[in-house]
Symmetry: D2
Amino acid sequence: MSLINISYRTNYLHTYFKTTAVIPDTNENNYRTLWLLHGYTGDDSAWIRHTNIEKLAREYNTAVIMPEARNAFYTDSNFIPYYSYFVDELIPKIQSLLPVSTHKRDTAIAGSSMGGYGALKIGFKNPKIFGKVAALSPITDIEHFRNNPSCPMAPETFDTIFDSPEKIKVNQPYNIFSENNSKQKVLTICGTDDYMYEDNLDFKNFMTEKLASNYTWKSVKGDHSWNTWTANIENVFKWIQ
Amino acid sequence: MSLINISYRTNYLHTYFKTTAVIPDTNENNYRTLWLLHGYTGDDSAWIRHTNIEKLAREYNTAVIMPEARNAFYTDSNFIPYYSYFVDELIPKIQSLLPVSTHKRDTAIAGSSMGGYGALKIGFKNPKIFGKVAALSPITDIEHFRNNPSCPMAPETFDTIFDSPEKIKVNQPYNIFSENNSKQKVLTICGTDDYMYEDNLDFKNFMTEKLASNYTWKSVKGDHSWNTWTANIENVFKWIQ
Amino acid sequence: MSLINISYRTNYLHTYFKTTAVIPDTNENNYRTLWLLHGYTGDDSAWIRHTNIEKLAREYNTAVIMPEARNAFYTDSNFIPYYSYFVDELIPKIQSLLPVSTHKRDTAIAGSSMGGYGALKIGFKNPKIFGKVAALSPITDIEHFRNNPSCPMAPETFDTIFDSPEKIKVNQPYNIFSENNSKQKVLTICGTDDYMYEDNLDFKNFMTEKLASNYTWKSVKGDHSWNTWTANIENVFKWIQ
Amino acid sequence: MSLINISYRTNYLHTYFKTTAVIPDTNENNYRTLWLLHGYTGDDSAWIRHTNIEKLAREYNTAVIMPEARNAFYTDSNFIPYYSYFVDELIPKIQSLLPVSTHKRDTAIAGSSMGGYGALKIGFKNPKIFGKVAALSPITDIEHFRNNPSCPMAPETFDTIFDSPEKIKVNQPYNIFSENNSKQKVLTICGTDDYMYEDNLDFKNFMTEKLASNYTWKSVKGDHSWNTWTANIENVFKWIQ
């Protein structure tokens, strides 16, 4: 098992961004690969520090790529073009550096909370790269999120990224899905005590109608915290096999 | 010699920011301390990777604190309140974690390029904390910097931080100095081939008039690059003794 | 919460050894401190990667210091004087660098497996430093360990460290305890499926007779693995309060 | 430019060993590769911290792999089978993880001091892997080194690795070369104030006779220190093009 930290000076973001990766020991050239995104306040070490990703990577023989996003919401903003960086620069860079899969059949994306939003967005917009998309407690409606009293992000910070009604609209997971109408397999998981559980139920209904058997929903015990994601991340590894 | 990396989840910035520190081996409680700021595109590892800071820290028995700033320009913006974080959260945090000086007599701040700007700004505004301020190739006029054809920062990115003429004005080093009128010792160094050399000469004239013998100017060979800062950072260690 | 990595060039070991530390956010000068030792094959990141130490450190407001030992068995050998390094160099170094307690009342040592052995040994021999000693699945009889068919360490590697019957004898936890006869509080925990469970029962009987109410024993479910230590490390944090 | 840290749990050494790598940005599959070894007291970060390896890697478009060796002298000992680990486990592991060359034409090995010894030894014994071997201030006679009053290594530590006259003999660079009689290109560099300069002259005479034009010798200014290696490492990058 190799734990790898990459500090890469990006041309898109004009500074160093980090990626943490876990690579199993079977010395393959193209590991089944899970891109795993952190939530608001996290960084590339979040999944390593909160859950036992290394054990799961070994048991499921899966490479795990955990990019740093800071609080950029996996979105292009005036401050940093994070989405473009992720898709146009980071993915090819990691594929050139590490023995990760380059085939959508063996490439999945997942995340929790803001990272769940990122997984839905990046996954839906790039069906040729990601064959499977999983989200734990995702933000499924960014406008509801902004206005939710439990939201950890200050509205004015949210507004620096999503700075117009139009920008909110095109960045809603519903609209991204409809725009691309991809036929990926999708899994969403949410705890019944999550403050965004109702939003997740709405999204479940939407996805069930759109994807039918390609969509899987899991309602679990738990709130919007690492306790829930720690207890359920293994479900994601199982589901992508 | 201890090389220390701190990853701290800040309440101001709502995510993890890193600080790299070098602490000598004389086991003191209050080392003479240099806060050393990186430039645009750098991070907390920049000075370690480009120059031999550890050797200088040992030879001059000085603790060196190198905070990560990303491209926040050491300034409060809508996106992140970096300046407030630095002064109100990071400085007390580091002083509570590491055996750095808490007396202005033994506390200096320095940096290169955008970090030189940060040193001038944070230093001038906090004369009770920093007894000495040194800047290598600093940005001394942020408006000239924005409009300079050699500027590495896109104007629209600059404008997300400095988003009005008033904000530019209050953040000009000249005005910050005049506002606070501190009587610290100040050193600026600039290479004659630097694309901001003229700006540095203007600033030299201003500071000479204001500070007289408390101000030191060094015109050196070199352009706006790590070659110049590597060749001249030892001058900063000498000057703060 | 600060996650800190220290790379320190030791005079005793003639190279860099690392220490990982977690420091809570209450900005104290002398945190209650737990020195937490890793087992065979581990390093200073083991406890961070396998368990949620940061959460426990925060909830119990305790600084946690996790030194790298490699496979040195917390023992002076011809190859490296690890025990002497730990006691004479590392402890004062960390106490000079970080806001850890220097009073035995607030200083505990713990570890699992080989780290449990290390905790018993370093704790028993230094009762003026460590007021409490806790061991999860410790090696309580190093000779039995060497000869146990489940032992992960090659006998010839064991023999490079413990290279004579006399050296084994003076390094047995029983003898170290009797030699120093300290009156610390001691906790040992072992899973009923551990291949050293019988050894731990013998040690329990010995400690019960010697320490009476100062000794606590917990027999738990589990084998000799991180599953057991992850499930029980919180007991150590509770017990040292 | 990517700066990569790999922490890999080795089956040979039964714990985690680190490797630091620098990979250029031209997204190749098989970069020209320099394996660069540290000296006594160093670790995998030594070359990064003391010299500007990243700049050289970029300018010469060369991947640089810097493995951690601790003080194992690149040699199999009772304590750790470091040489076997390096050749049989680390090289294939790195070749499976990173886009390094697997062709001897584009694969070189170099190092300074104990790392220079390691480069000569590993290079000479593996001519099918390494087409070029470079050594800065290498230890060319390990017995002289052991007995040299300037030697930084305690003789008793040396003797734990090289524990018989026979073991010293088979590990002398002269004998390793003669045993394998490889026809690689070899470069050695030594400063005239180095305390092993005489040994290096003897080695130069030996290599000149054996390799003729395949051997290059550079006598430079400097002593046995990073000043010399910093000033001359670029010569190695030039020579391997």
